[in-house]
Symmetry: C2
Subunit: 600 residues, 2 copies
């Protein structure tokens, strides 16, 4: 007998699963999963971002949701062939629910489901106007009351927020707010983006001048308009700034720049926010139904409180305020911290002729950029991946299909390979006194990012300067205090300084909620970001998804959005669908609303 | 015996052709063509745009060029399957020459070549930095003299045209100049674009306010950054303006807006142009090696000289100056002309409450937009075409593969179908007194465009207003003269008027050469545009390509570029390669430099 093809194996399971779900036979559905199993759902079944782990959790979700969701037409995606290897069969499928269409990914072991991903792609009757549905533009026929595109656009810009109210307000017009704003625009959800800077892209432009993206172009596309073929692998900050500015314009976003959000308050009775902003020196009151904080996943700058900061006579800056090296030629600079910004800033200062010392307070995870691109990202985000048919959309879904609970298991071997490949480099770094780590379980950079959003540097050259002593390194001792002209470490070392840069990271986005709304609401919502992995800076209990990101929170009608360009692109889709459904009055029964475990 | 597949048939002929060309066996090569045959070459073999018609012309071209061009590695393109139908086998191939790589298309009949298209795609050693060759962006390592992207870009913008000289200057910053500028930038050819308007896109923004593109989005993409999936089918003018503005910015073009070209003079001895421009009120002298006129294929506005224009007390405007209807509610307007602009302007004036009369002086070709999209363009430029694998690039090459000599034969049946489909519409138009035509030989719109660039309207609604009398029509009589308050036709009709709009078209681009350079140079170059079809406004003799467009002219180092968005995209590639080759000192032996037959 011939062995079944991967496609047939996937067909068989999908047919059974589809039938069980349509018939409401929860036992039959659950029995298709192996004991060690995961079902990750992005909005389609749970109106939440949720990973069900094990048969019991899956059973519970189905028991609660199945009757309302009414899944149907589960079928293999004919455009994406199934494949098999190492005892695992993988496939792609499409499905529908009562109100939406979805796309999914499945992994089988021994004919049973190991991992299942279900994602919502569009709401029925609210499909985006693209491809065959793109707008006509010219309105054929004749109409004495015809308004041109420009007249309508100008009228909308003049009226929204004044004589008409937006359904959603997004605070923060960086990549996150812009990507979400673009999706909401396409879905016809009236939205205003509030941004304190003068121009879209300024949040990049205003960083230190040597900054380039540390993630490569294939990982960074925005929705709708991908970067062109000639876009640099690691785009310089000002070029990204220009792209965001043009994107905002051609996507016709209602982007209120030079506008400061002063406060936001939710009225449970009217189910409406009162958002007070200052625009062009004038106070404007907005009354949206939904409020999104897209103020940067890193939240507010973290500056340690140190004795002597008040008497230090030089300059002190948080890394987010550091302009670059031009003013510091010949000056003594102490940079406190040893992650991405610290390394970038130290290298640029050295290039600019400053005498620079890096203070490393705790161990840091380092990967060389080339190595990370090849081993860590290359299968999903690279020219090689594209040539193999792995489009950005497909890569996003493959990445999303790995449950967070076991993601580190996929990551650890990659980092072992990197460590081997760059063994001499790491030995040299340690010889220079640099304290290295590989994440709590050796799972490397992405897990550190997902768990705590910090603790690493993607090396693009600064490590060589540390190794050869061009950047002076003081590691293993924290800062004790500042004097009038020096930073003093706890081990007694005195580092004379004209400038101290605090590359000491950021707080939780929760801090923005406290500032803009209230401490009560911030406390109700709790910590933003982290998986609950019980590793440093990511306290448990296990949540299994990013806490409070892109999904309903304990505060009705309050949402958090952000992250790197990849996340801004991918998760803006699910957040936009959640908002659109509410805007249209579609029932959105949320399964498993997360609890609050930590205040910030 | 099994019949040969299309791919095998194509392989067989390509193998023989490749061998004959590599061995310099011109007879063997020519004998692979049938008697009725065409070889269209875009730069690869002729360093010209040239169609060889019949074996003798092919033999002559090969005799002159073969030794210098050295074609090699002719092989079927494995990514594009061959096909067959109606006695014709079609296939795609790749090839190389001594200095370049190319892509081609072939049609066989009875095992012999009917049509051959050869196009240059890139110069060896000067490949564009895209895909696998995209720039790194971040410069890894450490360099005390490092300049950021922004610093380098600002330095270039400050120096080019002042302390350093551009290799090429493009006069005219509409879609043509911008598309060519983008390609030259990618090829590393220092270029300045001179534009009189304040902002890129203003050449669209400043037209009448109801203007939308008459060509659909799939036909209109610019190089490198295609319009997104949600772009309207027929984009409103201001939206196109915004796109061009952002495109110019993110493609990093050296675009001198608000700059007027005052004169240009070529020095045969130094092989250099002296181009005098006024920028920011200051005279700047540019000394490029190459000068491109991209001032609009329509050239200078054509306003008929009429008796009484000096005594008419109302307003008179060329269509290019007409702002739209807002100021003319309740006014009497006479629009002279009956092509695209005339119809658009009449319809908008009627919508705006004016009393409007169209004066049709000669017959006009009308096609309904829907019908044109479906029957005329749908196989190449539509969602349907995309779904069938016909990308924009492939569509451009298929269109280019049809020799102009026989293109009308492909077009006539399409227009017969359109005439049948919309029979009632055409009958109604004729009943309203409208004079219709279908081009000299019934070949319709594209041939009219290619031959004369005028003589048609793509109906998006104005025809209904003509049919029902909302737009008054006076046809069959030319204008005699103007009085103080009316337009008087030769048949004696008096049309009272507050405003006269001359929708009377444009002259040849040659007129710009006369104004900017000299009458001598303009006369040396001769008429720009037209195929030499010996049909109205396209006098013979037969040229077989657009006269003087995108190819060498009788004036050394002077080039004409322009046309619709499709042509700006597609032909900018071949013009950019011709300029790059000259910039790099690569030998460019031009075959069959066109002669001059008409002064303008």
């Amino acid at each position: 007998m011939l062995e079944e093809s991967p496609g047939t194996r996937v067909d068989t399971v999908l047919a059974k699963l589809g039938k069980a779900l349509e018939q409401g036979d929860i036992d039959a559905a659950v029995n298709l999963f192996q004991a060690d199993c995961y079902w990750r759902d992005l909005v389609a079944f749970t109106w939440n971002l949720k990973t069900m782990e094990g048969q019991d959790q899956i059973r519970d979700m189905l028991t609660t949701q199945l009757a309302a969701i009414k899944p149907a037409r589960l079928r293999q995606d004919e455009k994406e062939p199934a494949s098999a290897g190492a005892g695992v069969t993988e496939g792609w499928f499409e499905f529908e629910t009562e109100v939406a269409r979805g796309h999914g990914h499945i992994r089988l072991r021994n004919g049973l489901i190991w991992t299942l991903l279900t994602t919502m792609t569009e709401l029925k009757g609210h499909e985006e106007p693209k491809g065959l549905r793109r707008p006509l533009g010219a309105e054929h026929g004749h109409d004495p009351d015809r308004k041109t595109w420009k007249e309508k656009r100008e009228a909308e810009a003049a009226e929204l927020g004044y004589t008409t109210q937006p359904y959603a307000v997004i605070i923060g017009g960086g990549q996150g707010g812009i990507a979400l704003g673009a999706r909401l625009r396409q879905l016809g959800v009236p939205t205003i983006i509030i941004e304190k800077n003068e121009r879209p892209g300024d949040s990049w432009r205003k960083r230190y001048k040597s900054l380039c993206l540390h993630d490569p172009v294939w990982y960074d596309h925005l929705p709708y308009i991908p970067f062109p073929e000639n876009w640099p692998v690691f785009a310089p900050k000002d070029k990204i700034g220009d792209w965001l500015e043009m994107y905002t314009r051609v996507m016709e976003l209602n982007y209120w720049s030079s506008t400061l959000c002063k406060s936001a308050r939710y009225d449970e009775a009217t189910e409406e926010w009162t958002v007070i902003v200052e625009r062009n020196g004038e106070e404007v009151v907005l009354r949206p139904k939904q409020l999104v904080l897209a103020t940067g996943m890193s939240g507010k700058p973290n500056v340690p409180k140190l004795e002597g900061q008040d008497i230090f006579k030089g300059e002190q800056q948080h890394s987010s305020q550091h302009p670059g090296p031009d003013a510091y030629r010949g000056k003594k600079v102490v940079v406190i911290g040893s992650n991405n910004s610290a390394h970038d800033i130290c290298a640029a200062l050295w290039e600019g002729g400053a005498d620079v010392t890096m203070v490393q307070r705790s161990s840091t995870h380092i990967v060389r950029s080339d190595t990370l691109m090849e081993i860590g990202l290359g299968d999903l985000y690279s020219e090689r991946a594209l040539a193999a048919g792995v489009t950005t959309r497909k890569a996003d879904l493959i990445f999303a299909s790995l449950p967070y609970r076991i993601m580190h298991e996929f990551q650890i071997p990659l980092y072992e390979k990197m460590r081997e490949r760059d063994a001499k480099f790491y030995a040299d770094l340690e010889k220079a006194g640099f304290m290295l780590d590989w994440g709590a379980d050796g799972s490397g950079l992405f897990m550190k990012y997902l768990r705590r959003g910090s603790g690493y540097y993607i090396d693009v050259g600064a490590c060589d300067l540390v190794i050869d002593g061009s950047i002076k390194l003081k590691s293993g001792s924290d800062v004790s205090h500042l004097t009038e002209d020096a930073v003093v470490l706890k081990d007694g070392t005195v580092l004379p300084a004209d400038l101290v840069v605090y590359a000491t990271g950021y707080g939780s986005m929760n801090g923005w909620a406290a500032d803009l709304i209230s401490k009560d609401v911030a406390d109700k919502v709790g910590k933003v970001w982290g998986l609950g992995s019980d590793t440093p800076k990511d306290p448990g209990p296990w949540e299994g998804e990013q806490r409070n990101m892109w999904k309903p929170t304990q505060q009705e009608a309050l949402w958090f959005h952000g992250g790197n360009l990849h996340q801004s692109r991918h998760y803006s889709q699910y957040l936009s669908l959640q908002l659109k459904a509410r805007c249209e009055g579609i029932s959105t029964p949320v399964y498993g609303l997360q609890e609050r475990h930590h205040l910030s």
